[in-house]
């Protein structure tokens, strides 16, 4: 069709403009209505041909004509924007439990955490690529069990899961400190509510059973 390279005639241009501006697909009759009933069949055929190789195609669905972007262009029409976000505390705990106990079901995670785990929390971990569903546990209800992925090891710089510190090491690092400690850290997020005098008077009178080697670690953590 040699006319493709030459300038289109006005009827073709009009049909082109009408279809372009239309908010809905149009039938041949709809288009003709804009054009005092002109016969637009040839114009449509020409446009269909002209646009066949382009980034936009003129397509007919049933009796309705409309322009649409070429199917192979679909992946250019979206753009990814990376948004760095810090894993929530709940998600971090979940991930840790999966890493230490895998494969593990959601119910098991909950029983270890002692808190219900929102569905979204696991989704986030899977989105991050650190956790995968690893089949089902052959118990009543056949719950899905979860495990970590190779990306998990890569991200955390672990050769294997065995590199994760054991409980003894955690204890030595003070990471198994009583809940109070953890609570305290969590409370720090809140404005200081309680009477500071009260909080202060305690530790220097009472001989502490638990020394606090983690203090320096704490600091590092909090600023992280």
């Amino acid at each position: 069709m040699s006319s493709a390279s030459s300038d289109p005639d006005d009827l073709v241009r009009a049909v082109e403009a009408i279809l372009f501006a239309a908010e809905q697909p149009l039938t041949r009759e709809d288009i003709a209505e804009y054009l005092n009933g002109a016969d637009v069949r040839d114009a449509l055929a020409e446009l269909e041909e002209t646009y066949r190789t382009r980034g936009v195609n003129l397509v007919k669905r049933g009796k309705l004509w409309h322009f649409q972007t070429a199917p192979d262009m679909a992946n250019f029409l979206r753009r990814e924007r990376e948004e760095v976000r810090r894993l929530s505390r709940a998600a971090t705990e979940c991930l840790a439990i999966i890493a230490y106990h895998e494969p593990v079901s959601r119910a098991e995670i909950e029983s270890i955490r002692g808190v219900q785990t929102a569905k979204g929390t696991l989704d986030v971990l899977m989105e991050a690529g650190w956790v995968r569903a690893a089949g089902r546990r052959e118990v009543p209800g056949r719950p899905v069990i979860y495990a970590t992925t190779p990306e998990f090891l890569t991200h955390f710089g672990l050769a294997s899961r065995r590199d994760l510190p054991g409980l003894a090491e955690l204890r030595a690092a003070g990471l198994l400190d009583p809940v109070e400690e953890a609570m305290e850290r969590e409370m720090e997020a809140r404005p200081d509510e309680e009477n500071p005098a009260e909080a202060d008077s305690d530790p220097d009178i009472v001989p502490e059973t638990v020394t606090d080697p983690t203090r320096s670690l704490d600091m590092g953590d909090q600023s992280a």
């Binding site: 990814e80 948004e83 990471l175 400690e181 953890a182 009472v206």
Partner: protein, 276 residues
């Protein structure tokens, strides 16, 4: 306006050809009949607007209008408005007064002029009219362009472009390990490790209170039984234990208690002495 390079001319002399169409849309006024003045005050945007409209009726380049004629036209306009009992805003009247002054000044012999000269004032008025006319013309031309949504159209049903937010999650090794530690700590079987506190046990309070009561001659306040130099922590404990000890002694019939009022000092004394 004709060629821009040449110096601006005096508002005198014959009409010059104009290459800008000054007859752009303006208030609804019958321009074909300068003799007839329609009073349509609503259609005007202030006195300058009226002056511009009147100036255009002279059908000459704005640089060549007759200011005297313009003044007369404006004053006539104001008179008509007065006859028709139209309420004119003050600025229309102020303009009328100023124009009347300008007219008389223009008619005076030149030697009697003060500064600024009426010619200057007239010129200033003319310049302002030109500028307003220029902008009105520009506005009209702007409005007749092919406007998006009126004359030209964007695609009616664009597929739309999407921005996929891809979240990159971040978590450090330490966060992970620490979180596990905390889970373990939080959910470990609860073992109450009662810290060694400086406390006065009930036993020691009992023996202390009863021995002190034994030698007391009269009522003693409870706080007199407390160890005198105890630190605050111990004081609290001693107070509680001593109170319970006092109750216990009273129950055993070895002491009696008295309190004058709620929260008042609690006194006690030995039963042997007081009872007998």
């Amino acid at each position: 306006m004709s060629a821009g390079g040449e110096p601006q001319e005096l508002p005198l002399g014959p009409a010059a050809p104009s290459d800008i169409d000054w007859d752009a849309p303006a208030p609804e006024i019958d321009r074909d009949d300068p003799a007839r003045l329609y009073i349509d005050i609503d259609g005007f945007e202030g006195p300058l607007d009226i002056l511009l409209d009147l100036a255009r009726r002279q059908k000459v380049d704005l640089r060549r209008i007759s200011i005297l004629e313009l003044v007369d036209q404006y004053l006539e306009f104001i008179d008509r408005a007065g006859e028709m009992k139209l309420e004119l805003a003050a600025d229309y009247l102020v303009m009328a007064a100023w124009l009347a002054y300008l007219k008389s000044a223009l008619l005076l012999p030149k030697e009697e002029q003060e500064d600024p000269s009426p010619e200057e004032l007239a010129l200033r008025l003319q310049l302002r009219l030109q500028r307003l006319a220029a902008m009105r013309e520009a506005a009209a031309r702007l409005m007749t362009r092919d406007r998006l949504g009126r004359d030209v159209f964007m695609r009616g049903a664009p597929e739309g472009l999407r921005v996929m937010k891809k979240r990159a999650w971040q978590c450090e090794w330490f966060d992970l390990v620490q979180a596990y530690g905390q889970v373990k700590a939080r959910t470990a079987p609860v073992v109450h490790m009662v810290r060694e506190r400086l406390v006065m046990t009930l036993e020691s309070a009992l023996s202390r209170v009863s021995s002190m009561l034994g030698v007391a001659l009269d009522w003693m306040e409870l706080k007199q039984f407390l160890p005198p130099h105890a630190d605050p922590q111990l004081k609290k404990s001693a107070l509680a234990s001593s109170f319970v000890a006092a109750l216990e002694l009273a129950k055993q019939g070895k002491a009696e208690l008295a309190q004058e009022e709620t929260f008042g000092p609690l006194r006690l004394r030995s039963m042997k002495r007081g009872g007998n």
